[in-house]
Symmetry: C2
Subunit: 306 residues, 2 copies
């Protein structure tokens, strides 16, 4: 297939936009959307020191590449990499992350479970089994990431989460009825470095393509302890449903943001319809429908009389 | 199978409770839960005049039967039936609803699209096709129901919605990202008669069984214009997922209530952990995990030393 914007070979078909895109136009579209996301959330401003949380996988490597490409020449913005060594033998070798960071010309810092907590994930699994390893690891990793980024003077932590990750997270919180987490506001908290997610509105497969195009080598293996059955289940349900209703992942992303903003509307917005006098929330749908029907019928009558 | 509570034959297996129940124990359990729902929401109190919105189908007929059985002898509570004649030839014959109401010894009132709006649903479909008939009908029916119940002096409108209906509604609003509808508060509004949904925490199949047991004859046909493809899709997704995670429908019901209550938490709840000093939301999960690990390791050491 050819690119919908030029004559070159297309590398991807975006089902939701109906467009085939070549490397150049895909890249322009991709980076444009990531920049728009950053602008919308006012995520980056002059003086920022951005710690990119690197796992060495496609998403975080692509975020590092993207941020360097867009903000790398800005003297008022600093970018560096930060990787957590959970202590999983044969996986997530920090030296691989160092190599990616080096290729992007940024410094890379490592913090390890062993040094910080005195225990590695391998040891935790040995003690506790691997049933809850993901939730243990998640809690500890989030804490060390925040503490170490703060120590290094970071003002933002950039995460690789893509649209699929975000939509899945909203959906998981919904399906377990976790209103507290859905409504939790994200106002600034002392000691807590704000997270930014430049790719949060970009589908997983496009982030994967972007990484394939621009990152020479990234970690492709999954964590040996990872078997988050619930997320895998939600991912499948969501991918299926999204196939039939292609804007669903975006709707979930928007929903997640709006619930957090907590713009709780209330019934004071209810007023009386000036025509029928009934209580209505916003526009009176009854009168709209009836007017519309009246119009249709009148037009038909006129047609018949002419 | 035998009832888990006595020796009689079971009529249903509740997967979520693990119990087989006979007619008597099923009825007791069913009505107990509906009563609990009413108490929790403070839905019925002395002086109430309850209009039961009757379609003549299983859910609304069962609600009428239930309310009559529980509150029928209370002199301070009045119950009557209210049915809407949308004007669909050969479907929802008001006289069938009258028969059910009569068998329960309550008055039945009818309001019709024809009288109220000067047009029937058959005529609307003739003008507009049946693509949006459900949403036209929904808007008009809600309006006429409220206006007529108010005219009749009702203080509450009882609806037949069951757990499946409620969970599907929350899910539909989630999947289309409708935060406004999810967060909309339900404070009292002048002219708007509050809805009560006694069966909102009871699965559809149990309401169907209850209706089979106690209602002689109810409308079993679906509306000829009904083809709400989105709800059917969501119903299937939800039933599948709920089979694997049996508390999901309850979680969605709870979520819907909590979002409406709008108890927006905020990050002021964040404090510093007294042990590690990191910002935490509630309990410090890091310290909990580390303490737990320390305990496990110490116990193992002691075991080895003994």
């Amino acid at each position: 297939m050819k690119c919908s914007k030029c004559k070159k070979d297309a590398v991807i078909f975006q089902r939701y936009s109906g467009m085939h895109l070549c490397i150049e136009h895909f890249t322009k579209d991709f980076e444009g959307r990531a920049k728009k996301t950053i602008r919308q959330h006012k995520w980056i401003s002059s003086g920022d020191r951005i710690a990119v949380a690197m796992s060495g996988g496609k998403d975080s490597s692509a975020v590092l590449y993207f941020l360097r490409k867009i903000f790398g020449k800005r003297p008022d913005i600093e970018i560096f990499a930060l990787t957590i060594d959970e202590g999983i033998k044969g996986y997530r070798d920090p030296s691989a992350v160092f190599k990616i960071a080096e290729s992007q010309g940024v410094k890379c810092h490592t913090a390890s479970f062993h040094e910080h907590f005195g225990i590695t994930l391998d040891e935790i699994v040995k003690e506790k089994g691997d049933r809850n390893s993901c939730s243990y690891c998640g809690v500890l990793r989030r804490q060390i990431l925040n503490a170490y980024a703060r120590e290094l003077g970071a003002t933002k932590i950039a995460m690789g989460f893509n649209l699929d990750d975000e939509a899945q997270s909203v959906m998981m919180n919904v399906l377990r009825g976790d209103s507290e987490r859905l409504l939790r506001k994200q106002s600034p908290v002392e000691g807590f470095i704000p997270r930014i997610k430049p790719f949060s509105s970009i589908p997983e497969r496009e982030v994967a393509l972007y990484a394939d195009l621009y990152i020479e080598e990234f970690e492709e293996r999954g964590c040996p302890y990872s078997h988050n059955a619930l997320r895998a289940d939600v991912r499948e349900v969501l991918n299926d449903y999204n196939y039939r209703h292609p804007s669903t992942k975006y709707a979930l992303l928007k929903l997640g943001d709006e619930l957090k903003e907590g713009t709780c509307s209330d019934s004071t917005k209810i007023s009386r319809c000036s025509v029928c006098g009934e209580p209505v929330f916003g526009e009176c749908h009854t009168c709209r429908i009836l007017n519309d029907l009246k119009k249709t019928i009148t037009e038909e009558k006129n047609d018949m009389e002419i």
